[in-house]
Symmetry: C2
Subunit: 146 residues, 2 copies
DNA sequence: TACCTCCCCGCAACACTGTTGCATTTACCC
DNA sequence: GGGTAAATGCAACAGTGTTGCGGGGAGGTA
């Protein structure tokens, strides 16, 4: 399903700004910060419109969002082929390149809370160094020690 | 163990600012934001010093920190009676009052990541409405319907 | 087609968290 | 008590995210 169809199905006006923002998220399958989305949009896109659109897409359930280790929101769209989407999975954040990935394979585990508490959702971020950055680091070390 | 002893044991200069900040965290057992810590300190405490001190306490392993649902760091000190402290447990964040609690009872669950990835840590936040806020809400509704 | 209304967009301004550089002051060791 | 390295306070900055407001465009109605 493309951006236009998704917006149409939710009865949201498919304006150029919304279409292009959603297209960016549909293309990149990992959670992007507002800054990363902006970098993939034609220059001149208003900052506030981008924020508002991301929030709209989130509230409509079209994308999910997760906080990275810097405290900024990242937004991600998966098509409906993934059960439990949007959002019901842990995420991995690379400390080196800052990239984040959805760990689609596993669902968020159950955690017991104090009785009488109303649970609305949960977030889980695993952080460390991704494979690409580990490889780069190893290569650098190798070159340096020659 | 009091603040002075903790700092002494880690060979950190026990300045008044550090002692009072650590005392606040030792007293309140739930993760506090810089703003909440500042509110519990005598007025006039410098913002930057507070940030630097919180970061120092975290890096020294005296406190742990966790991101709340607004993307701000919260710092928390537990004494060493808790196994896996500091930090190896999920947290609960109340959407209404903003308060956060440590779910000391359970450890962070294992999650499988892509092979070749280096995992350094993980964060888990369960969000919803805490018991106190639920009670208040119920009372309000009750009063309104009379 | 003309009009009208609602919603989207862009701009300006703001609040807040967190960081950096630098000069001054302080705690600790001798 | 003096010297030194570290801690503090101040000013300034960067970045994220929000709010208010006016203009303009899309879509519906007559």
């Amino acid at each position: 399903m493309n951006a236009w169809e998704i917006l149409e199905r939710k009865s949201i006006r498919a304006t150029p700004a919304r279409k292009s923002i959603l297209e960016v998220l549909l293309k990149e399958r990992c959670p992007l910060s507002y800054r990363e989305v902006a970098a993939r949009l034609p220059e001149g896109q208003d900052r506030v419109t981008l924020y508002r659109t991301l929030l709209l897409l989130f509230k409509e359930g079209i994308v999910h969002r997760v906080l990275d280790m810097k405290g900024t929101w990242r937004f991600c769209a998966h098509d409906s082929g993934h059960p439990g989407c949007p959002g019901n999975h842990p995420h991995f954040a690379c400390r080196v390149c800052g990239r984040m990935e959805c760990l689609i394979g596993s669902n968020l585990p159950f955690v017991e809370v104090e009785p009488g508490t109303e649970v609305e959702g949960k977030h889980m971020v695993i952080y460390g160094v991704c494979r690409d950055c580990l490889v780069k680091r190893t290569k650098k070390r190798g070159a340096g020690s020659l």
